[in-house]
């Protein structure tokens, strides 16, 4: 039974990946969107003056970019499913609803992580040149990225499943998603900021932030997993 679920999970994930490789639509739009965000950041910071240390707000800027990019991606991924009638076909097939949920979450997580991994070097190249950065603590950032993205994909997939069936899809998604994701965002920015600052005291802050993010992931994934079954069939 478990192996059958596993097979179904893999098949659904492969479908998402193959479709993405063929059209490259989600990665392209999310990547370019995050690049555009960097331009907006440059304009926003252009009057900041010489005494300004970009490392202080780097974590916040990064997660801001991730949040908006992820909303774009989540919306797209579910709109696709709906427009092509894929979700309805899946619901008719004998597949467990949780499997659908986890396949969708994993797909979104994958694309989100790829875009994040591409955004960080670009951000560092554009804003952090010449700043002293401790590479050893920076190595902790992938941890926050993965933990934070799991929460974003988990909650976001559930909310996007709802919002694609509403009038005013993207606004509804933003209205539901941003307040709900707030605790995770706070923890993630805390941890990322601590990793960028990189002093020994900052390491304690890093793990506090991580605990926050992981706790949020556990609670919200359980709740979303429980609720998805009711939402997807509606």
């Amino acid at each position: 039974m478990a192996s059958a679920s596993m097979r179904q999970f893999k098949a659904m994930l492969r479908k998402d990946v193959v479709m993405e490789l063929r059209t490259k639509e989600m990665l392209m739009s999310m990547g370019l969107y995050s690049l555009l965000t960097m331009v907006v950041y440059f304009v926003a910071l252009s009057q900041a003056g010489a005494g300004f240390d970009p490392r202080d707000i780097a974590a916040g800027l990064l997660w801001l970019a991730f949040i908006f990019t992820s909303m774009l991606g989540l919306n797209r991924s579910l709109v696709h499913e709906k427009d092509q009638g894929c979700l309805e076909a899946l619901l008719l097939s004998p597949v467990d609803r949780p499997v659908i949920y986890f396949a969708k979450v994993t797909g979104n997580l994958l694309f989100l992580l790829i875009v994040e991994a591409l955004t960080i070097p670009v951000f560092a190249f554009l804003f952090l040149q010449g700043e002293t950065i401790d590479l050893r603590t920076m190595a902790l950032i992938p941890l926050v990225l993965v933990a934070g993205s799991i929460g974003i994909a988990g909650v976001g997939t559930l909310l996007a499943t709802m919002s694609v069936n509403t009038s005013g899809k993207d606004f509804v998604l933003a209205m539901l998603f941003i307040p709900l994701i707030y605790p995770l965002l706070l923890g993630a920015v805390m941890a990322t900021g601590a990793a960028i600052v990189g002093t020994p005291e900052a390491l304690g802050v890093f793990w506090t932030g991580m605990a926050w993010v992981i706790g949020y992931d556990v609670i919200m994934l359980l709740a979303s997993y429980g609720l998805y079954e009711f939402i997807v069939g509606a």
Binding site: M220, S224, F230
Partner: protein, 308 residues
Amino acid sequence: MKSSVIRALIALVVGGALTLAAFLGAFFWAGVPDFGFVRTAQQTDSVRYQGPFVQDVDEARYLRNFVGYEADITADGTLTEGRITEASEDGVTLETDAGDVTIAAADFDSAQVHGSTYGRPDWGQKIFYFHVPVAEISFIVFGFAAFYSIRFIMTRRREYDTKARVSMEVTLLFVMFTMATGILWTRAAWGVWWMWEPRLTTYFIMTLLVIGYFVLRNAVEDEERRALYAAAFGILAFIDAPISFFITRLIPSNHPVIERGGLEPPMLATFIIAQIGMILLGYAIYQLRMGEVLLRDRIEHAKTLLER
């Protein structure tokens, strides 16, 4: 239908009377706590008098801050007692029983200044008697909304969706009251209109979640789907309520926390009456809105009967 309206009216009258009683109690019975203190040269009144104020001063120039105060000044080994009438960099003039005495700064050794301390009354604390009960009701009714959402998902009965929706409306009303009174209290107590402080932030997020619930409801056409989505979001949104409630006890926060035994009996009694009154008012508003929804249902039913 009728019974729910009658219950609502009873709760409205009793709750209104208790709230009014608490309002009077807050202003005419409960005392005003102190918020910091004021030093004065002498005791003019016993109201809010906290006790004598004594300050040792070791440099003459500091006495400029204490013109009008009684002082014992030691200069060149001799003690002079009197009221400071003038003080500058150069010296200090005292009014003593034996006439005015001027002491040069060069001769000054030390001084002891005497005055009175008065408590500054914190009138803004009056907001507490209603701000806290209103906030509590918002949490309680939010809990009911989440409970009815869970019941709806389990049973799929339309009445639970209606109950969840009406509870959420009452939550929105009380959240707005909490925000309004809270912002004014923030200004009174902290001197700013808003502060990104853990309790305020999480409560603000809760406000957004409740608004988001109605945005979601309005954006879904299909009735059954709307009910399911709203129920799911209501449950997810409720996760923020305990966070907001307990956060002041978990991480350092400016927001005051009521401690056991922290209130004098008249204050505590007023607070409890206000709480009971507000709970009844919240219940009354919920029942009124429920009665209205049921009336609308019956009107729809009568209309379909007539159209046949």
